[in-house]
Symmetry: D2
Subunit: 220 residues, 4 copies
Amino acid sequence: MQVKTILIAGSSGGLGQAIQDRFRAGGYDVIAVSRHGAGHTHVDLSDAHATAELFNGLDPSKPLAGVIHNAMQFHRSAFLETEPETFEQVWRSMTLTAVNVAQQAIPLLRTQGGGCLIFSGASGSLRAEPHFSAFSSAKFALRGLAQGLAREHGSEGIHVVHTILDGLIWSDKTQQRFSSAQQRRSMIPTDLAEVYWQLFHQPQSTWTQELDLRPQGGSY
Amino acid sequence: MQVKTILIAGSSGGLGQAIQDRFRAGGYDVIAVSRHGAGHTHVDLSDAHATAELFNGLDPSKPLAGVIHNAMQFHRSAFLETEPETFEQVWRSMTLTAVNVAQQAIPLLRTQGGGCLIFSGASGSLRAEPHFSAFSSAKFALRGLAQGLAREHGSEGIHVVHTILDGLIWSDKTQQRFSSAQQRRSMIPTDLAEVYWQLFHQPQSTWTQELDLRPQGGSY
Amino acid sequence: MQVKTILIAGSSGGLGQAIQDRFRAGGYDVIAVSRHGAGHTHVDLSDAHATAELFNGLDPSKPLAGVIHNAMQFHRSAFLETEPETFEQVWRSMTLTAVNVAQQAIPLLRTQGGGCLIFSGASGSLRAEPHFSAFSSAKFALRGLAQGLAREHGSEGIHVVHTILDGLIWSDKTQQRFSSAQQRRSMIPTDLAEVYWQLFHQPQSTWTQELDLRPQGGSY
Amino acid sequence: MQVKTILIAGSSGGLGQAIQDRFRAGGYDVIAVSRHGAGHTHVDLSDAHATAELFNGLDPSKPLAGVIHNAMQFHRSAFLETEPETFEQVWRSMTLTAVNVAQQAIPLLRTQGGGCLIFSGASGSLRAEPHFSAFSSAKFALRGLAQGLAREHGSEGIHVVHTILDGLIWSDKTQQRFSSAQQRRSMIPTDLAEVYWQLFHQPQSTWTQELDLRPQGGSY
């Protein structure tokens, strides 16, 4: 069987790594894109030209199956203390990267009869809380983009999914940042990766556009 | 390994049958409840006492793993031509049955450390269209119930899922009712059953409360 | 100018009284319907026949302008301690009364070229919280009904509004029930009545179907 | 009584003009900001420094009462034919302008005990349709911003409103752009302006955060 390629944008962190592992175990050729970190392809996906180059360089013998966009820039600050440049930068890193990746991936996937794009959202994609105006505004924007793409390109075989990750993802970083985090109240990266695997492979008769995910007993 | 029981309410029709088949293939003891039809346990789940009797009669050696509530009463009529009795009956058959089943299942599941309840919603659960006031009002009510149960009983290990089935489910009945229905624009029961299987077995670190499902290119 | 009639369903309590006062001051003939209380027309609006009788008895010389449906049955209890009869009764008092009133009002209003129906929702119409499953399920159902009616009868001149009253309404009863209630954190009935007046009189070029209302600084 | 100032951002077009007229008639000193057009203050509100200068130049003897942000850049194009620069530009003109204006207005309004910010959304703020990915993504972002500001600054007396303008606004431009537009199926600017006036003056006991507005019989 032909090996297929999956591109994972925002591949650092526990979830990015777990998704890579799951898809490699499932036989995919994984291209893990991040702005830094060993073992990643370093591309700034907020740059349309760099993104185009990345896709142009894909090995045509391993056709692209889809993209998982997981570029997350957690940002929390009082609105009046958030620089307009920060607003823009948060939007560029979470939303514009999704635009660029989708513009490269969709034409490729269309020529092969379809494929899947998964965009990772958060609690803030549905509810904007105090001190999260930049983050939530960008996550709302990403959700609108994903929804629009699902409606515009669904009939061409492009399956667009938006996940609402409503809770902490367990990792060393999480433990450092949130001292009160508990593993049994957090989402385990390998469990999330399994859901992404399932979504990515939904048959065309049953496509999910949006679903929420949270740990047992997570308040919401 | 101990055999577990799953109860499927509203088990007639293509989806009900496919869910039964999937869970039987997965090793469950399936109790298929419907008001009529060969091979089903006949109980009127809108009757609290009959529902209690059903659950009291479960074989304790095969502990209950959960319930899939799929009781659907499609109803379409102009609002001014819908009898108040019909409104009430649609509500009883789709919402009150869910109340009764949940009140019996949750205490049982709690004693075993948890379990899963899946309620099937529809496009009309999110958008009330003309001529669907009775149907949508009952489906909105079911969604509110499912969401409340998820929040009230989640920390006790009760995973409550609400699915939005946004499209036609392929079956003989569908073909008769909607002459324009096409299989490639419909949801295949066995594909849906697989999603229900996945949801039912989500690990406690990654629970979905709500997801939508529609065929490729379905307009929404 | 011809005097017009407005019917207020669920007219007891501070908000019901304030709406009555506002519309009387504005020149309307007000029919205040409640199941009890001095100065009210006593009709059980969950009874379709009694509701029909009420509307048949309206004075044709004062044509109906619309209905404000404010029938609220606050209900809070653990799901497992809520009798199925209570679930049904909460639904009947908040949702079925709305069905009955709308079925009588819409044909009358159509013959006059239009009119307005306002249904009062609550925080629980959008979010089902623990211990509010019966209340929220019925409020979700009311919202679905209102939305369906807006879509089905809008082009006939029937303006259907659903308000989300997201907070405490200040009254003697509120003070007794919630000892921590503060007037400056509550909604004042006369202020709400003014909003209802504005909504009721929106010109046909700018109709609101749904809006939320909460006191300054109310958390949500 | 002291004259107060209102700033209208995105003041060109029929709605901008009608809002100006309504507030002038109500006794306000109106500052109409637009990037071009006679009779407007010309400021590029996507430029934080230019926006700060504008606010610094306000006449302190006429304290600011609030801002109506109506900056709308209608944009419709196939996703794959939308330049990333266009995505960014649509976001800057509709969302970043709102950020800049809010960052200047909120500190001023706080010192005076409060004030009102109204942001104009559209149908695309809730539903992203095909060929509207850039527009909807920016409108989703604006909605998230408005919601976050409402929660973060509400208790300080800052009333933040987000309107969903779900339909065509009647104007010469509308007639030219949509040949099938009909006045009786469109929203009349003076009617909308009256709603904005009402929202701007809601007492602190009854604040609306979001409402939709559409012409009678508008499909949605």
